[in-house]
Subunit: 656 residues, 2 copies
């Protein structure tokens, strides 16, 4: 019978998320994450009722503990015979500083999803496990990455040292072989050539001495500069990555857009790890807003449900909730919205039910920030982020209210799905908040929502207005006004992060503004590509030159040049060009509404929770095929039912 | 300037309590505690604002992390110069699996009580520290016990092996020297001679081979039986103990009572460690009800405030409270009562303020167990312990209500002391509960409080009635009736644990029933002493014979023969014979009301929070002296003010 490592549900994710958040290296310094870290329980009791004709068990405990059968103790390290009949098997595991887990080989009760456990409090509930950990030798404390040997594509002797170029960014162990053990070698990493060579300022560096070969700790880099007598060394890297398959694809006739897509995919894959990371060089942390974008991208690329669930669990942690996720109000609201969108994509009701109590707890926490006017407003220690952009953050910020509205809707959908929670109350709160937002924040004269009603400045930025369009909060009149007076208004400060550009693209696509969208892709994402970027950056200012592009947070190379929130076009191409989206949870129903925009030919696939949709559209024909039922093709105002594996071919006679 | 190891307040206690609760060895098996364990935070940020003419700091981090001064990072392992002026020094420490702590050597900001910290959530608040940890080499993860070499007082060749007797029980490392490295030695520990010799059933045992000398892990024992060729070995033990001074003393003319007192002191000291343990052989855990008794004993012996605070913090842990302390309802209520009595003794308002939020949280948790009649009743998973005694535990148990009444009073006192909480509301709840208890539980016919009003059995046990007297809940009529119909009624089941006998002694003393009290001391505690006990047992049944005495929980030697809850007489002698007690927090005011009971001469001292009271009383004279002010001597209905260091001598002319 098949056995798996089992643990307290959620603890695997909490353990690995904690490790991620404790592991940051910044210019040689160790910096723990800026928020409270959740840790696994120190002791867990696993239980199963067994009714059999007798058998045995042999268990391997990750930690220390004992086996108890009907209250009699046994040595966990030895084979235990179980007499015929009904028995209660308890495995007590304690492990402070690790992940309490157990692997049980048995002919009657192997460790699997049928076991329950608790943390010595509360009811017993089904354990957590993952099909990967099906061997006692696969320790669940070791995250299952895969590895691939990479060698530099170029080598230059420069300034008395050697500069290596691995071609594109990677993350992994650097191997130095054939070194002179009497020489010190300075190792300087760079996402850019300039960074590796600027040895006084490289974000990541190392210094080795006394051996003939070295295997250095995992780091992110494209370039490595070795300082010292390193001409004869053999350099290689063991690229460490999450094994995931790109189920989603997209190509078009526009070479730049294809390059953008591929750079976005590369960027995104490097940041898909224990959870959705922000940047692979820095912070290598899981930020909920970044992760919200990543989850949307993931659904049109890897459709990896596991990484979304790891991210959701790792971010929410466990009670008590004492602060916003990552300390950020908007990121906490995006977590709730992400959860509902996750459910819509994968339809995993079991997961939804298990995480629901924490989602409710988070919403309750958010509501502790309601001010006297009924708007959420930051208290001391709360971070009102929204974006790296100038914004009037006096008092209650409009963008936060927009997210709260959507979070109420999300929680309402979740409540209906699992038959728990008060969806009427949620709907009431949402409606009242929409009314209040319109009353306090809508400025007819400016034609948009203002940032703050308390400052008196009536400042308009794109952010709240983008959310209002994106989540359908703005009414028809407001939407038209926002498009005209905010989105297409060059006097409104431009977005500089691909994070919020991602939302802006989405809003434009939603409004059918493909010309503006493609202009933005070309200028903004294309701008980075033109500068030689193989991965998408954390921020981009077209007006900057040279190494100005690499600076951020007041430091020369602090900007991440491989930042997941730059991969938004993957989502846009799949969601709006290929035009595939779920209309019932788990893609039980879905629509396919392809659009060419300003392009003349698009081809691609979109994963639809166990199935695939393939779309080919050019100026003459449209071809769509889905591998599972529930699909509706929407084309030129008509609806066509998609039968599984039966292609629909239509003439595209509007275009020439 | 003096530096100390500093940590997040309470985390030292939580760390060590967790270790205690993860460390139990039972017949070779490792058994974690039966309740949820709290663990330290994984990362802590320490902060201090420094305004100086410049200086340096050098820090040692227990874990990993970095130093940040005004946001600039520094290597924690190197000496850091601080420029003149105002600076914010942050030390980030992460340590999953240990105790995040830091030791800072500095001429301007050494690590001490003036530093603050948080766990990356919430406000910064003053750190925890202890004067003992004043050296970087004293790791706060290592509990500061002291050690003393002990050798056996007797050695017997028996059954081919050797039995050693260390004279009295001890806890520590067993050292075996001069062993034959080709021979296996079986090591069998015993609290009793029989246990050590009964090698198939000894609770603690070991087996060693292949060395000439061994140092075995710490265990509790008086006897050690070495099986195998061990005639020539040299055996010794390193007794591990908490260094505390016996400030309280008591002697009288009754040799048996003196023996009881000394055995109780020995028993108690062995169980005073990271916190108040139950038994030194088993469980070696901190149980709140046992600890409540221990705290009362401690106040008349060591008056060690630290161990009480370690116990209180370790037991309450941190939010969320998901279950009763040790899962036991009564033990949770006793925690609240203990906290107030602790404050009365030491007057430590700072400690009280810091632990108050958790005390409130615990009371809120208790109130989740209120039934429709307004009584607390166990839910699934709650343990209604009260005592190892037959009791009608149907529904809401009377003894629990008695403790809730006293807990309301305790919380009310605490609220008043720190000026927080709603003492009017607490007083109202208490009064209403007293009325309900009288209505539902008082049985005039039986002349006592019944166990359960829901079962219809009207069963009377001593327990609730003892609490009613002890905490002054019974009115005058009820008290007289309880004394007659319950306490002095032999048809009411006798108490068998020294735990509840301790409460019974207390109730009898309170009622002035010294004859009954002394009879109980003589028969119950004296009974164990007569059987050769050097330490007090977990339970005692006078009718048992031989090794029957050592059995419990269905196993031959599972009873603890050195159990702290047997040390109650230490409290009784100090509290009622020497007659010393605080009447204002911290012994700012206190009374001394000595009583001879049936004795003819008593001498002793009682610690009074930084001072001492010395009492000598015989049939002719009374002499009392206190080292601090605030005392009132009460003698034969008269009150005498005690001036510091000025003895009062009175004639005792009632006795002849």
């Amino acid at each position: 019978m098949k056995s798996y490592w089992i643990w307290h549900y959620g603890e695997y994710e909490i353990f690995h998320t904690m490790n991620v958040h404790l592991r940051r290296e910044t210019r040689g310094y160790h910096i723990p994450a800026y928020w409270k870290l959740c840790t696994p329980y120190a002791s867990v009791k696993f239980r199963k009722q067994v009714n059999s004709e007798g058998g045995y068990l042999l268990c391997c405990i990750n930690g220390s503990g004992c086996v108890s059968i009907d209250g009699n103790l046994y040595d966990p390290g030895k084979r235990i015979e179980i007499a015929p009949g009904l028995h209660t098997v308890d495995i007590c595991v304690s492990n402070f500083g690790g992940l309490p887990a157990v692997f049980i080989e048995s002919d009657i009760c192997p460790s699997d999803a049928t076991w329950s456990c608790n943390h010595y409090a509360g009811d017993f509930s089904p354990v957590g496990y993952h099909p990967f950990f099906d061997d006692v030798a696969k320790n669940p404390e070791v995250f299952p990455f895969e590895y691939e040997r990479r060698t530099p594509i170029n080598k230059e002797l420069l300034k008395g040292g050697v500069l290596y170029d691995f071609g594109t960014e990677l993350f992994g162990f650097l191997n130095i072989e054939n070194a002179n053990d009497g020489e010190t070698i300075g190792v300087f990493y760079g996402e850019s050539r300039e960074e590796a060579l600027d040895t006084a300022y490289s974000y990541l560096s190392d210094s080795v001495w006394g051996q003939k070969s070295y295997r250095l700790r995992q780091r992110a880099f494209r370039y490595v500069y070795l300082e010292g007598n390193a001409c004869d060394v053999a350099l290689s890297a063991d690229f460490e990555y999450l094994p995931v398959e790109a189920k989603g694809t997209f190509t078009c006739e526009n070479a730049l857009f294809n390059k953008i897509y591929n750079a976005a995919v590369r960027t995104f894959h490097l940041n898909c790890r224990e959870g959705f990371f922000d940047g692979i060089k820095r912070d290598r942390w899981i930020w909920s807003g970044d992760a919200y974008q990543s989850a949307r991208i993931n659904r049109y690329l890897f459709a990896d449900k596991d990484i979304e669930q790891r991210t959701l669990i790792g971010l929410i942690g466990k009670k008590p909730i004492e602060q916003f996720i990552n300390t950020i109000m908007d990121y906490s609201l995006l977590w709730i919205i992400m959860l509902n969108e996750h459910y819509m994509t994968y339809g995993d009701k079991e997961f939804l039910s298990r995480i629901f109590p924490m989602a409710s707890e988070l919403l309750r926490f958010v509501e502790t920030r309601l001010n006297r006017d009924g708007f959420i407003e930051g208290f001391k220690g709360d971070w009102i982020f929204v974006d790296w952009s100038n914004m009037d953050k006096c008092g209650a910020v409009c963008a936060e209210q927009m997210l709260l509205i959507e979070a109420y809707r999300a929680m309402s959908c979740i409540s209906i799905a699992i038959g728990d929670g008060d969806c009427d109350e949620l709907a009431k709160k949402e409606k009242e908040l929409v009314d209040r937002v319109n009353k306090y924040y809508w400025n007819e004269e400016k034609g948009g929502f203002i940032d703050s009603y308390q400052s008196g400045k009536n400042n308009v930025t794109r952010h709240a207005n983008i959310f209002a369009v994106l989540y359908g909060i703005a009414n028809e009149h407001q939407t038209a006004s926002i498009l005209e007076n905010v989105l297409k208004n060059d006097s409104i400060t431009k977005i500089t992060t691909p994070y919020f550009e991602g939302y802006e693209l989405d809003a434009l696509a939603k409004l059918g503004e493909f010309a503006a969208l493609e202009e933005m892709l070309k200028n903004y994402w294309g701008g980075m590509i033109e500068l030689g970027a193989e991965t998408i950056w954390e921020e981009y200012h077209p007006e900057m030159v040279g190494i100005e592009h690499y600076a951020m947070y007041g430091r020369k190379y602090e900007k991440s040049l491989c930042n997941a929130w730059g991969a938004g076009p993957v989502y846009i191409f799949g969601r709006y060009y290929l035009g595939v989206y779920a209309t019932k949870p788990g893609y039980e129903a879905f629509e396919v509404a392809p659009q060419l925009g300003g392009l003349s030919e698009i081809n691609g696939t979109v994963p639809i929770n166990g199935g695939l949709v393939k779309v080919s559209l050019n100026s003459k024909t449209l071809s769509v095929i889905a591998t599972k039922s529930g699909g509706t093709l929407i084309w030129k105002g008509k609806r066509y039912s998609l039968m599984p594996d039966q292609p629909i071919m239509l003439v595209n006679n509007d275009k020439t």
